[in-house]
């Protein structure tokens, strides 16, 4: 198992570094811009909070963009949510199918290891990648706060990053399930799933009747403005997230261990 885990990790590490450095650096740059925008913030904050549905969708009606917490939630929160979920989706939507797509399956599955163990190893490798991704981006954001010497509530920041990690796990599980069903890499479909979940959350915040169903999507419990505004996240959102993850994993194992592998 450890040998395969190491192998899988090596296969993913380049993408992991590219994505985590890009998202982390982008977030840090956003944070650094906060200082230069402080003077205009009061005016901006006022106008942004009065933009109706747009303000609701991006959480600017909840938090003032003039504070570092509000600025981080509405700017960096979106960058991190989209960037990290896209990374999770790309990685997971090809994790199983890449063996058939790249014709390496006959090498891998001729080794004395069951498909169940291969799935477990690949999932462990992805979880590890998401831990490293979250750690690197967190380090970048903390560096950004240090540069501008302005700090948000770090407890809320930690809750936000952990919620994002959980959200990425959920996107990963859904996209891994997709990967178990297909024989060709479907990065587009994976990205589509991540974006669809994001748009579902945006729509839910704009359409009044849809607000009650926000908890179904993973972005529901990981929304930066909700977390930094100290609003209670309904426990149903977490329960729903865990259930979706479990269900996706069970389906992945059931499907992939019984599937005919393409040559």
């Amino acid at each position: 198992m450890m040998v395969l885990l190491k192998h899988e990790w090596k296969q993913n590490v380049r993408n992991l570094l590219i994505w985590s450095l890009a998202v982390g650096a982008m977030g840090m740059l956003c944070i650094c811009l906060y200082a230069s925008m402080t003077e205009d913030m009061a005016e901006l904050s006022e106008s942004f909070s009065n933009m109706g549905a747009f303000s609701d969708a991006f959480g600017m009606s909840t938090l003032g963009i003039g504070t570092i917490a509000g600025y981080f939630a509405t700017e960096v929160g979106v960058v991190h949510s989209l960037g990290s979920s896209m990374f999770a989706a790309i990685m997971a939507s090809t994790i199983l199918s890449k063996e058939e797509d790249g014709h390496t399956g006959e090498f891998l599955y001729a080794l004395p290891v069951t498909r169940g163990k291969v799935i477990t190893t690949k999932i462990c490798s992805m979880v590890l990648s998401l831990v490293v991704f979250t750690t690197i981006t967190t380090a970048f954001y903390i560096l950004g706060f240090r540069i501008i010497d302005t700090w948000p509530d770090m407890e809320l920041f930690a809750i936000f990053m952990l919620s994002q990690f959980l959200m990425n796990l959920e996107v990963m599980c859904i996209c891994t399930m997709l990967s178990a069903f297909v024989k060709r890499n479907m990065i587009g479909a994976g990205l589509g799933i991540a974006l669809l979940l994001y748009v579902y959350d945006l729509m839910g915040r704009v359409v009044p009747d849809a607000k009650e169903y926000l908890f179904i999507g993973p972005f529901g419990y990981a929304n930066a403005s909700e977390i930094f505004a100290k609003r209670d996240i309904p426990s149903a959102a977490y329960i729903c997230g865990v259930c979706i993850m479990m269900m996706a994993l069970v389906i992945t194992y059931l499907k992939y261990t019984r599937k005919d592998l393409a040559s």
Partner: protein, 283 residues
């Protein structure tokens, strides 16, 4: 000591509505070199991929006395498989692929791997994406042989290999088989079967056409007749009694005549051909 290295009983595999293989049964003796013949789409790869657990199937497959479904992992420990495509992770170096294959088995195969790389002239420092098909095949041979398995399964092993390497490959097989390994090789090259295999199974359209010893299957009363008769060049396969041939030639102007055994290609093509019955075309 296991007598049968491979036992396949009533193997059936369908891909949706399409036929894969239908009710295939044959066995391979331990220590044998077994040829697996058939045209493209005959079901050879489907049979091999079922044996290795890549496909779900109906019927029973036993490898080295173990059930292919229940003892999948244990079987793969004892098997060295070389796929026809020989694809690896493109960004890896040859050395890393060979090491990965050994480490997953929890074995130290350095000495055997070095011997194989030396004999097959494998450059372990090169990246996989720089290799030609022939060189990837050589890496695949090393991965299949380095752990000294009890059973080799090779799917079209010599395609892409130069004649010198083909020779080395069969020398290696002979050495391992001498040490007790069984070898099953799927191939299109009929001369390889005649030269190296003891037994052979022939597949056609998803069904087993014939199985037996190479000498049995290549034994035929048919003769190839070439020559010049009544001023015309003739070249045909004669399947009837030889006395009847002499009667047919009686009274004709025979200026040149050769009567010889058909080539192995011709014999096996008879099994492959559409109108061949299950007993063999030229018997």
């Amino acid at each position: 000591m296991i007598e049968k290295a491979i036992e396949i009983n009533h193997l059936t595999k369908h891909y949706g509505k399409h036929r894969g293989v239908e009710d295939v049964s044959f066995s391979v003796e331990a220590g044998d070199i077994f040829g697996f013949l058939g045209p493209n789409g005959a079901g050879k790869s489907t049979t091999i991929r079922s044996m290795l657990g890549f496909l779900q199937y109906e019927g029973e497959i036993r490898i080295l006395g173990m059930d292919a479904r229940k003892d999948h992992e244990r079987i793969l420990r004892e098997v060295g498989y070389m796929p026809s495509e020989a694809m690896f992770y493109p960004s890896m170096r040859v050395r890393d692929v060979i090491r990965l294959s050994a480490e997953v088995r929890g074995m130290d195969c350095k000495r055997e791997a070095k011997m194989l790389c030396d004999r097959l002239r494998v450059d372990v420092d090169r990246k996989i994406n720089e290799l030609s098909l022939g060189n990837r095949k050589k890496v695949s041979i090393v991965c299949a042989m380095q752990h000294k398995p009890n059973l080799f399964i090779f799917d079209e092993p010599t395609s892409g290999l130069d004649p010198l390497m083909q020779n080395t490959f069969f020398e290696l097989i002979a050495e391992y088989v001498k040490g007790g390994t069984t070898c099953m090789l799927s191939t299109h090259v009929l001369s390889e079967v005649k030269k190296y295999c003891n037994h052979v199974a022939i597949m056609k359209e998803g069904q087993l056409v014939s199985a037996g010893s190479v000498s049995e299957l290549t034994h035929t009363s048919s003769k190839r007749v070439t020559g010049t008769i009544d001023g015309q060049q003739v070249d045909y396969l004669y399947t009837k009694d030889m006395n009847q041939l002499l009667e047919e030639l009686h009274g004709k102007n025979v200026t040149d005549l050769n009567i010889m055994d058909p080539s192995i290609d011709e014999i096996f093509m008879g099994y492959y051909s559409k109108d061949a019955d299950r007993e063999g075309a030229m018997r």
